[in-house]
Amino acid sequence: MQIFSAPNYDFIRWRWHALILSAAVILAGVGYTVAQGGLPLGVDFSGGTIVVVKFQEPVSEQVVRDAIPGNEEVVQTYGEPGDHEILVRLPQIEGAEEGTSLEEGANRVVAALQGAGVPTFETVRTEIVGPVIGRELQLKGIYATLASIVGITLYIAFRFRPSFALGAIAATFHDILVTVAFLSFFGYELSLNVVAAILTITGYSVNDTIVVFDRVRENLRTMRKDALDQVVNKAVNQTLGRTVITAGTTFLAVLSLYVFGGEVLRGFAFTMLVGIVSGTYSTVFIAAAIAIMLSRRGRVARVPTAAPVPPGRTKSKQREARAS
């Protein structure tokens, strides 16, 4: 079976359309996020309190909301409908780290519910994050993402060439921005898990791109007379079957995570789903296009005169061939 038999689409010709589409999505994401007053931060980053209680019978959000004094809390149903779980989130309490008052909010919620005559419940999860930790995690998240991107860029620059590294990194940034845009559209908040998913996407996105670049590198040896865009376009077409199949199956596997993995992993799985689609798209349309634009027109790298390397080549020969 074959999805594409000898595909020969001219992807490079569509690069401007692709760039405009991506820019539109990213700008819409930025616009929407700004209009929302920024990305909603989970307690991991903003600090605050989350209490998840599981009732023995169905209870409406309103009942819980009414039971808790004050109106700073956010109350929402959590998990599967049959679980009767309700999540209560409280904002950061000022001066919460001065003493034992860190868990005061959580205790207040539980006490209020116990006194309110709602059905029997059990506290299944509490998360209380003080402002110090929240700030530290924010910084760590940003550093880790940037450091990861820099590390991967250096590796690609070392293994391929700088313009390719820039193409791959442009694609990675593209994927991160598109993912964040969709997180914003669908109202997901930025939690530790979501940031972990974003970091994973940097790896995944580059993964995809490397496959194409590797093929470009190989083609450069055989297609010595052709212009770079043709070489790249051929590589994209040659790997198209693999790109689509891999993306499709990985998407399905992660979809299983999204459906069955439970509420805690939902944000993570959603982020991965968007990242996989975006990563595939950017591999085909963005990475190669940018690599070409950044390379000088026509043939840039002179490949050594070695003939196409036969299969079963030795290590040292590979190194020679790569030393372009």
């Binding site: 079976m1 599981k54 003493g99 880790a144 990861s148 199949i245 399905l252 299983s256 805690v264």
Partner: protein
């Protein structure tokens, strides 16, 4: 043929080792807090406390030395790391220097105007004191947690600030009690009461012009109700410097007071006993405040010289007495602690998460299997076998190294399935291409694996770079994810390249294949 036999043997050996490592999974695979239930706490050691105690002790000795040598002037702590000497006549400066050389060598002298001197703790010494207090706190918490009887607790330094401690207590249900035990008795101090108890702070200070004398402080406490159960907050004016602190304790145990109410008996070490007996001997008839965490628990009258035994009583329950003995025994903390983060996961939620995670993994594996078999026919079996083996090697790795499995870690399993698919598809598609150039099946398979090897290496290294930073970034659950991802990548290099190829070679060795079902 012989090489092939060795390869098959190697594959089987790895498989057996992996399965052996994780069997039975319920015992061999370590579950994180989010799957097992328990509490995750991050505390900060208030290292300023350690400096303040040091500075106050030195200031106190300084004051005594000045008095002994007849140097005029007052001494008061001004900040955790500095105290100030005021009103020293110019001609007594040499005497002051002598005092400083004797008791304040760790402090630098900064002269101010008209006989005022600031003594500032040397930064190096301050850092040392801070680190020491964090180290001590860590050890103390470890002892307390062990006395609590929690299985597989984690107590470790945390974060980059150097003053945070991570405590993970799996399976703990009474979180409030655990927190109290870890944090309480930041400081046990026995201090001579100068005045009080009084109902208000202002009332206490009325006879002193409304200001707290420099060598004293006002502390809140509960009024001694004589067992009626009701208590109001009262205030005591006590000496700032403690006669004895928790550091001087030898041991503490639950006991009963003269009214048969639960109490804690303690005994002091030699050094503490000497200090205690001289202070109690000099203050017979006055009251001694037992201060816990800056709060007066009880303030009995000193009826005579006490050397090394004492009792803390007040209104305690049996449980409180036990907990108090525990924390006193495990040593007083060198500084107070505050909680920065607390995450609690109920055991039921943990079990639900395990179920959800396994379901999601199986679902992912099922989808992938169906697809691979439909798309690649018989070769698909190869891919499925190598992916399944990848998961088993990964699980074996984790069990063998005692790595912790978390919920995001299970997500890492699902992504590992994805990576396995990726590598296999990459290889198979290449084999298809090679087959199209009509080389014969064996040559095409060999070429497919050879050509794709570098690509797989590159993609895996790039992903490993991302995983490494993920590990740096993450707390518990995310680290679990980074761990599975890393091991998944490593074992995938083995299974998708070596195992899958061996399977192909095994199949192709059995027959003269003209066609390959791919």
């Amino acid at each position: 043929m012989t090489t092939l036999r060795w390869k098959v043997l190697a594959v089987v050996a790895v498989l057996v080792a992996a399965v052996y490592a994780f069997t039975p999974p319920s015992e061999k695979v370590r579950l994180g807090l989010d799957l097992k239930g328990g509490v995750h706490l991050v505390l900060r050691v208030q290292t300023d406390d350690a400096l303040r105690i040091e500075t106050e002790t030195v200031a106190d000795r300084f004051r005594e030395q000045m008095k002994m040598r007849g140097v005029a002037g007052t001494v008061a702590a001004a900040a955790p790391d500095r105290f100030r000497v005021e009103g020293v006549p110019a001609d007594q400066d040499p005497a002051l220097r002598e005092v400083a050389n004797e008791v304040a060598v760790d402090y630098t002298r900064e002269p101010g105007v008209s006989g005022t001197y600031d003594f500032v703790l040397r930064p190096l010494v301050a850092t040392q004191l801070r680190n020491e207090s964090v180290r001590q706190a860590l050890q103390t918490i470890e002892r307390r947690v062990n006395e609590l009887g929690v299985a597989e607790p984690i107590v470790a330094l945390y974060g980059t600030g150097g003053d945070q401690i991570l405590v993970q207590l799996p399976g703990v249900t009474d979180v409030a009690r655990a927190k109290e035990i870890i944090r309480s008795t930041a400081l046990l101090e026995l201090k001579i009461v100068e005045d009080g108890p009084g109902p208000t702070r202002e009332g206490l200070l009325a006879t002193r012009g409304g200001v707290v004398p420099p060598d004293m402080e006002v502390l809140p406490g509960a009024s001694d109700t004589g067992g009626t159960g009701t208590s109001a907050t009262v205030y005591y004016l006590v000496r700032r410097v403690a006669a004895v602190t928790g550091r001087d304790l030898r041991t503490a145990r639950p006991s009963l007071d003269q009214n048969n109410r639960p109490a804690v008996s303690f005994s002091l070490n030699q050094d503490g006993a000497r200090k205690f007996s001289s202070v109690t001997g000099a203050n017979i008839g006055r009251n001694l405040a037992v201060v816990l965490d800056g709060r007066v628990v009880t303030a009995p009258r000193i009826d005579g010289r006490i050397s090394d035994e004492g009792q803390i009583y007040g209104v305690f329950t049996q449980q409180e007495v036990q907990d108090l003995s525990l924390v006193l025994r495990s040593g007083a903390l060198p500084a107070s602690l505050t909680y920065l983060e607390q995450r609690t996961v109920g055991a039921t939620l943990g079990a639900d998460s395990v179920r959800a995670g396994i379901l999601a993994s199986l679902g992912g594996l099922a989808v992938v299997t169906v697809f691979l078999l439909a798309y690649y026919r018989l070769s698909g079996i190869n891919a499925v076998v190598s992916i399944a083996m990848n998961l088993m090697v990964l699980l074996g790795f984790m069990a063998y190294l005692g790595a912790t499995m978390t919920l995001p870690g299970i997500a890492g399993f699902v992504l590992t399935i994805g990576m396995g698919v990726d590598s296999n598809v990459l290889i198979f598609e290449r084999i298809k291409e090679e087959l199209a150039t009509a080389k014969g099946v064996k040559a095409a398979v060999a070429a497919g694996f050879d050509r794709v090897f570098l690509t797989i290496l590159d993609t895996h290294i790039a992903s490993l770079i991302a995983a490494a930073f993920l590990f740096q970034f993450g707390t518990g659950p995310i680290r679990g994810f980074a761990t599975t991802l890393t091991f998944g990548l490593l074992s995938n290099m083995f299974t998708s390249v070596f195992v899958s190829r061996t399977l192909f070679e095994l199949i192709l060795s059995r027959r003269h294949a003209a066609r390959l079902s791919i």
